[in-house]
């Protein structure tokens, strides 16, 4: 059984059909890339999985659970974490606190216990340690106590990655993690992601325009164009698919 099973998902915004009968699967442990020209519907699909958008039709199953039955805040508890294309951190908090919020679903303090400090000490300590470990993995431990506001773009992208990692994701969805990075940074990122995948037994769904990185990393590639799937398969198959070549010819990628 695939870990993520997407069946005929359609999303419509007014007159725009952002996704049309989109189906594909991701197997446990796989690195699957979702590519396509600008406006193809990749981010829209992420937002459907995050339950930010409701699909007009279709079904998404994650590890046997019907995702569409869940509210946005319940998705992370199932082990689904993501990063955002345009960054969605919390500038008012420190880097460490940002990452600790990533562990929200895996901690328990509530309004009452926190106020009265019942069992908070141990959990705070655990969260802090886990957040430091996650920051260590993305090589940002020395930034832990900086305010997130005003840090460089590449740093913020790695904070988002650490914030997802602390949740111990089963499926990690990355929306253009390499955008805005320099060439050498992209290589480092690809290396890091492959390492993290083995270390944490991750399944990854990667949206990326950086083709070299996609071809190198992924085991499966799904290609979207104007909301419709036009190809699917291993990197070699997809690379030579005439439909894919045609879809990309018009755009500059």
């Amino acid at each position: 059984m695939p870990l993520l099973d997407v069946a005929e998902v359609s999303v419509q915004f007014g007159g725009i059909r952002a996704l049309t009968d989109f189906s594909f699967t991701v197997d446990e442990g796989q690195i699957c890339a979702l590519i396509g020209p600008n406006g193809a519907g990749k981010t829209t699909f992420f937002n459907v999985v995050s339950r930010i958008y409701d699909p007009t039709s279709g079904a998404i199953t994650f590890d046997g659970e019907n995702l569409l039955d869940h509210a946005p805040h319940e998705i992370s508890r199932l082990g689904l974490y993501r990063t955002f294309q345009n960054l969605a951190l919390w500038p008012g908090m420190t880097v460490l606190q940002n990452v600790m919020v990533g562990g929200h679903s895996r901690s328990k303090q509530n309004f009452l216990t926190a106020t009265l400090r019942i069992g908070t000490g141990r959990e705070e300590k655990r969260l802090t340690e886990e957040a430091m470990a996650a920051l260590e993995e993305v090589d940002l431990a020395d930034h832990a106590h900086f305010q997130a506001a005003g840090l460089p773009y590449g740093t913020l992208k790695r904070i988002e990655l650490a914030r997802a990692l602390i949740g111990e994701p089963r499926l990690l969805m990355l929306d253009e993690p390499a955008s805005g990075l320099t060439h050498s940074e992209v290589d480092e990122l690809a290396e890091l992601l492959v390492k993290l995948r083995t270390r944490h037994n991750l399944t990854m769904l990667l949206v990326e325009h950086h083709m070299a990185m996609v071809m190198k990393m992924s085991e499966k590639i799904v290609v979207l164009n104007f909301g419709q799937k036009i190809a699917e398969g291993d990197p070699d198959t997809v690379r030579n698919d005439p439909k894919v070549i045609e879809a990309y010819l018009g755009s500059s990628t």
């Binding site: 805040h73 600790m100 919020v101 969260l127």
Partner: protein, 424 residues
């Protein structure tokens, strides 16, 4: 700036630094009342400013109220202006229970806390749908409601068999102090304490002469009760804000979408934050009733609602010291503005007559420009020029290359609204 003094977090110096800081605060809080006793006068230029005990006690109540606004506005990012309503409810509940049912003042908190908490949650419900200016509008309407609500004589309250206006004594205001007055217990040796400080060389003269009058003793005792309530409230809120919950609230403030994606239940956390905020306003209302011994609905209208927010902005939006300073500011700024009769470079004739509100307005405008983020934020910036406290991980590197970026919510561009645009 290499002249800065670097203190490593958790080091002995840091401990001393903290002890000195807290020690001075505790000393100030406990000794200033003994110095002020009734009135202290400070002359600056040709202006003479009066500081009274009643200002200090009132400021203690309002500090708790501003803290409540801080929880919801500063930490959760929900622009609500209605907290004076809950303060009014708290004050009236205390007044009614003390005057009509002969409860002791402090025990009324048992009723005030849950009722204002639930009311706050109920009023937080619309905030799940509306935000920003619309939320401000709805909540300030609620604040505007209280004075007329307290005078309603058509609705009767279950269990009491009385109408609201009978319970609140309508527009005459509810008198409590003639029924139950807070008296200092005999076992507190006020005269001994005063004598001790008066006996200290050099500074002794600031503590006045001779024993305290019974009225002064009662005031000091009342102040201690209020101070204890405030300290407990601040401590509990500090626990809340420095926890998973506090971080989740700030995440909601800074970006709701990613907060939800990380597992924060937006509806639950927002509603509970409204409850906490309202309960703090309720406690402030109880403290007000303890302090003044008289509750008049007209004192809990729009003016107070706006004042709470002014206190927050002047004090500091995301630092709990901001609430302390904010409470003081609400009380002191108007009175100091009134007493200001001459300002250098300003024509004397302009400051004659009732120009207090005008001076106050100018002062507030100046403050927002000179100290964006509030007084506490300004003090911290100033302090950072001389002292920096660094975590041990960074100590090895010596000075931090770049001090972390400053962030003042409410002054940033408003975050994108969840319903309108979703980050991609």
């Amino acid at each position: 700036m290499s002249a800065r003094w670097t203190i490593v977090q958790g080091s002995p110096q840091h401990r001393i630094y903290r002890w000195v800081g807290w020690g001075s605060f505790v000393a100030a809080v406990l000794l200033i009342p003994l110095i002020v006793a009734d009135v202290a006068v400070i002359n600056i230029g040709s202006n003479s400013y009066k500081f009274t005990m009643s200002q200090l006690t009132l400021a203690t109540s309002w500090a708790v109220a501003v803290l409540g606004v801080q929880v919801i506005v500063g930490y959760t990012g929900q622009l609500t202006l209605g907290n004076s309503f809950f303060a009014g409810v708290g004050a009236y509940l205390t007044a009614i229970l003390v005057a009509d049912y002969h409860w002791s003042y402090v025990s009324t908190l048992v009723v005030v806390l849950p009722i204002t908490f639930l009311l706050g949650m109920a009023i937080g419900l619309p905030a799940l749908r509306i935000r920003g200016l619309y939320l401000a509008l709805v909540t300030i309407s609620i604040a505007a409601l209280l004075p007329s609500f307290a005078k309603l004589d058509t609705i009767s309250i279950p269990f009491t068999g009385k109408t609201i206006s009978e319970l609140t004594n309508g527009s005459n205001g509810k008198d409590i102090k003639s029924i139950s007055k807070i008296k200092s217990p005999d076992w507190i040796p006020w005269d001994g304490i005063a004598g001790f400080f008066q006996g200290i060389p050099v500074v002794g003269k600031f503590f006045g002469e001779g024993g305290l009058s019974a009225r002064q003793e009662d005031t000091l005792y009342k102040y201690l009760i209020m101070l204890a309530i405030a300290v407990i409230a601040f401590w509990l809120v500090r626990n809340l804000l420095n926890s998973r919950v506090g971080r989740a609230l700030q995440a909601i403030r800074d970006n709701e979408t990613s907060a939800a994606v990380s597992g924060v239940d937006l509806a639950l956390y927002k509603t509970l934050a409204f409850g906490v905020s309202a309960a703090l306003a309720g406690v402030a209302g109880t403290m007000y009733a303890i302090d003044i011994g008289f509750v008049n609905s007209d004192d809990f209208g729009l003016f107070l609602a706006v004042n709470f927010v002014v206190g927050l902005v002047v004090g500091g939006v995301i630092n709990m010291w901001g609430a302390v300073v904010g409470g003081l500011a609400i009380v002191l700024i108007p009175s100091m503005a009134r007493s200001t009769q001459s300002v250098p470079l300003v024509k004397q004739s302009w400051l004659q007559g009732p120009v207090g509100p005008f001076v106050q307005g100018v002062l507030l405008i100046l403050l927002t420009f000179v100290l964006p983020g509030g007084i506490v934020y300004g003090i911290r910036r100033l302090r950072a020029r001389f002292v920096q406290v660094v975590p041990p991980e960074l100590a090895a590197k010596g000075e931090m290359e770049e001090p972390p970026e400053d962030y003042i919510p409410l002054m940033e561009e408003p975050p994108p609204e969840l319903s309108e645009s979703v980050p991609d």
